[in-house]
Symmetry: C2
Subunit: 145 residues, 2 copies
């Protein structure tokens, strides 16, 4: 596995250790991580800080040109909010750990001309499956089901 | 003008007074404001805290049932990120101050079964027009153009 997906998984595991939803993300520009994040629903009482949003927030204000050269890695298929943020900034590519647990707005990303790569990574799947089994209500609250 | 659009405009004006992008929003449940917010790009260095996102964040974690009974008021047509968040939580209705300055993802909201009402309010239009004239770069950075 490449270092960037490993970093996203490390974020997800950190979230789990904090008692949160184990979804992590990193924003990568020219081979360097410029933002790391994980879901903070539990930790910050936040409905908007999904992993991808937290990574974007932690990268801070970037010029439009930078976003267009970025790849965002996320352990789980991005929901319509996160996909909307990725589309807003015209991020070039999205690398997704898995979409078996949840199929997000991938089609919308593709339609916006964004490259989408899905890994179906076993460790990403295990993280989510174990979490949902233990905290089904928290998962449904987070994804708005 | 109803009190809720007035409250959203008050948020936009507060943002302007702070040196920020003048877009405000309030989340209303059963006739009561449960979250207020305004764009915080400048104030917090945030790429994700648009007015609508800030109002959702400030409302905190709400049960799915509450979102489905909510109306969100925003002074400007919601971009694809904010529309994605509104769609994620299944907010019932969106009341938009104006969409002349910027036409957001309204069609996507309608397709998701969300009621959309556009007011073309003169004070909302003035706020944005004056701001863009004075800070064109900040506006383009915020909306990702």
């Amino acid at each position: 596995m490449d270092e960037f997906m490993q970093a996203a998984i490390a974020e997800a595991k950190q979230g789990l250790a904090e008692g949160g939803v184990p979804i992590g993300s990193v924003l990568v520009h020219q081979g360097k991580i410029i933002g790391r994040g994980h879901n903070r629903r539990v930790q910050s009482g936040s409905p908007i800080l999904h992993g991808e949003m937290d990574a974007l927030e932690n990268a801070g204000r970037q010029p439009a040109k930078v976003y267009r050269e970025c790849t965002i890695y996320t352990t789980l298929s991005p929901c319509c909010m996160c996909a909307g943020a990725i589309e807003l900034y015209g991020i070039k590519k999205v690398v997704i750990g898995e979409n078996q647990t949840f199929m997000g707005a991938e089609q919308r990303l593709r339609e916006a001309g964004i490259e989408v790569e899905v890994r179906q990574d076993a460790s990403c799947i295990d993280l989510m499956q174990n979490f949902i089994q233990q905290h089904p209500q928290l998962w449904h609250e987070d994804i708005g089901v």
